[in-house]
């Protein structure tokens, strides 16, 4: 009794191929293909048509104009700078706040750990927009929060420095503050995952060999948690650099981040090639450090 060849193929390796194939197909269809369209668009020419670009015909096949503007026009350069600085500052602050929290998570009892981990994830259960609006409410001139800050400021500084209200809304500071708040769990969770794996007897071994607890942290805990720091840093830095909603809602319009620029180029300016060029440049900017990291990571793993 011979099975159908297709049936045999399925039994042998079909399921395996299917299981591996589906995610790849998904990535190709919904990531690689759209990205290629964006890349093609970025070298097209802006035309008053619908869609507002064309390739070939009377125009040159490849128009590098948008890319040269990305690297020369101060509007884009400043926006890139703002994005990278804000994202780096956010990642740094998330690390400083998140590290002690992640470390504490590994040191508390099992019951507390579950509760605290739940609290870290809890904000995701409410709408992201709602949480940003809540911050807008808090930072606004007439809120109790701003009032409290204003009163404390006025109490602490000389009279001629007194203010009516602390300017929080529509500042770069507000952008970083809300981004830190939003992305903190993305720092805590990978840090917790890497710290939780560490062997506590290594701490004891270091103490036994003469190190005080703070030295144990610098010598043993911190170096071993570098993969967690890098993972958390990238999980915060990459989305923060491309963040659109937070700077739009609480940020300073005269100091835009790159996400806002892309939106404006696509929307108001209807310059799709320009928007695509900025998007591709942003992606390359984000991908290079990631690739460098995985390259070194792979080399470190390879030497194991």
């Amino acid at each position: 009794m011979d099975k159908h060849p297709l049936r045999r193929w399925f039994d042998l390796k079909g399921w395996r191929a299917l299981l591996i194939g589906v995610p790849y197909l998904w990535l190709i269809l919904f990531f690689l293909l759209p990205f290629l369209i964006v890349v093609v668009m970025s070298v097209a020419t802006n035309t008053p048509t619908a869609p507002p670009f064309s390739i070939g015909g009377e125009h040159p096949w490849v128009n590098l104009g948008p890319f040269s503007r990305v690297f020369t026009d101060s509007l884009y350069l400043r926006a890139f700078m703002t994005s990278v600085l804000n994202a780096a500052l956010t990642a740094m602050l998330c690390l400083l706040i998140g590290y002690p929290m992640a470390l504490a998570l590994t040191r508390v009892s099992r019951g507390w750990r579950t509760i605290l981990l739940m609290l870290v994830i809890l904000p995701f259960w409410t709408s992201f927009l709602l949480r940003v609006y809540a911050w807008m409410g808090l930072m606004g001139k007439n809120s109790w929060f701003n009032g409290l800050l204003t009163d404390s400021w006025n109490f602490l500084v000389p009279l001629d420095w007194a203010v009516k209200s602390v300017p929080l809304m529509n500042t770069n500071f507000a952008v970083v503050l809300v981004m830190v708040y939003t992305y903190l769990p993305f720092m805590i969770l990978p840090l917790y995952a890497s710290l939780e794996r560490l062997d506590p007897t290594l701490d004891e071994a270091a103490m036994d060999l003469g190190s005080r607890p703070h030295q144990v942290f610098w010598d043993v805990t911190l170096p071993q948690s570098i993969p967690g720091i890098v993972a958390g840093g990238m999980l915060v830095f990459i989305p923060a650099a491309g963040e659109l909603v937070i700077p739009t809602l609480v940020g300073n319009a005269s100091q835009p981040m790159i996400g806002k620029i892309i939106q404006d180029e696509f929307g108001q300016a209807r310059d799709w090639p320009m928007a695509s060029a900025v998007a591709v440049a942003l992606l390359v900017l984000m991908v290079i450090p990631t690739m460098l990291y995985s390259h070194y990571q792979a080399r470190a793993e390879g030497s194991k």
Binding site: D199, T201, L202, E204, A205, A206, M207, D208, L209, G210, S211, R212, D219, V220, P223, Q224, S303, K304
Partner: protein
């Protein structure tokens, strides 16, 4: 009498209602290899952790070289530990691991430190592996790195937690002798925690057998094996045949016992604590039983039937059914041959004999 090098004075440790260590008193001499032997949960590791400073005793005190160790944190104790898992720092090379403790030795210059590390690498024969990371070397090599790291600061006391447990049998035997020779060369006092009686017997100068937080007996390996003080120690160290017995009489010749399991009277060496009429335990090691085909002259002898035998090559283990008990006897296969090597075969009727001095009489 001079102060012992390490004095553990009536030390107890409770975790909540659990008594991990109860009223342990031990004196350990300088340069000794002292074994702490016991099953899991007997308190040996807790005692070790109190010596290292990771746990504070609930009661009692520990004196090292005359200094009270109460409240001294682990990083200030001249005591280093070799962990069961070795606890090598995975992100540091072998050399950095060994050098780790030395960075706290402020008095040393950079070259002195490097010299000490080189000396330690040489001691454990790992000079060629100095630049490797712990995951790049074998289990036996890791064990030696852990030893070198713990010895680098020249501790007064080295604690070894199951030092050989993670090694395979062949390597374990080799490492045992290596440990002993390193101890001899460095002169550091070793305390070795182990659940393996053979390991404790070969390594240690003296052994403390622990059970449920208490020290049951302290003595040299020979004392512990040949003269166990209690049923627990007799049963824990090596295997033993034990029988209920009643003391019939005491005399200069020895003790006369009634042992129902052996079908009658048995003589043993005199035990001062025994009182006629008292119920005691008679214990005999399997290798101290002689098996013969014919009834031997004098001494204690009981007839039985071979029920089972296991051939190990150099010796054989026999299970012999006596009137009221099944005993184990070990006999060396001194002759060479096909069948003749064994003293007896399945279902043979044999005589089991033992000297009065071979019988251990346990009063408690």
């Amino acid at each position: 009498m001079s102060e012992p090098f390490l004095r553990i004075d009536r030390v107890s440790k409770h975790f909540g209602t659990f008594q991990a260590v109860q009223d342990v008193t031990l004196d350990i001499a300088k340069g000794e290899i002292f074994g702490l032997l016991g099953g899991s949960g007997c308190g040996k590791t807790t005692l070790l952790r109190m010596l290292a400073g990771f746990e504070e005793p609930t009661a009692g005190r520990i004196f090292l070289d005359g200094r009270d160790m109460a409240g001294v944190p682990p990083w200030e104790r001249p005591v280093h530990m070799m962990f069961q898992s070795y606890a090598l720092f995975p992100h540091m090379t072998v050399e950095k691991n060994i050098a780790y403790g030395l960075k706290h030795e402020r008095a040393l210059t950079r070259t002195q430190r490097a010299d000490r590390v080189a000396e330690m690498l040489d001691l454990v024969q790992l000079t060629a592996f100095a630049g490797r990371k712990p995951h790049q070397i074998s289990g036996g090599q890791r064990q030696r790195v852990a030893l070198a790291r713990a010895l680098a600061r020249q501790p007064k006391l080295l604690l070894l937690d199951e030092p050989l447990a993670a090694l395979d049998k062949k390597l374990r035997e080799h490492t045992q002798f290596e440990l002993m020779s390193i101890q001899e060369r460095t002169g550091v006092t070793f305390i070795v925690v182990t659940h393996d009686q053979e390991e404790a017997m070969t390594l240690s100068d003296r052994i403390a057998v622990m059970d449920r937080g208490q020290v049951m007996q302290v003595g040299t390996p020979t004392e512990i094996y040949e003269f166990p003080a209690s049923r627990f120690v007799a049963g824990f160290i090596g295997s033993v045949n034990s029988f209920d017995a009643t003391v019939l009489s005491r005399s200069a010749d020895g003790l006369r016992l009634d042992v129902p399991a052996l079908g009658g009277e048995v003589t043993a060496r005199d035990v001062p604590a025994a009182v006629p009429g008292q119920g005691v335990t008679l214990a005999i090691r399997p290798e101290k039983l002689r098996i013969t085909k014919d009834r031997p002259e004098g001494g204690n002898a009981v007839a039985g039937q071979v029920k089972d035998l296991a051939y190990f090559g150099k010796d054989s283990l026999y299970r012999i059914a006596l009137p009221g008990a099944l005993v184990q006897a070990h006999a060396v296969n001194a002759r060479r041959g096909d069948e003749g090597a064994r003293v007896a075969d399945w279902d043979d009727t044999v005589w089991v004999a033992f000297d009065p001095s071979a019988a251990i009489v346990l009063v408690d």
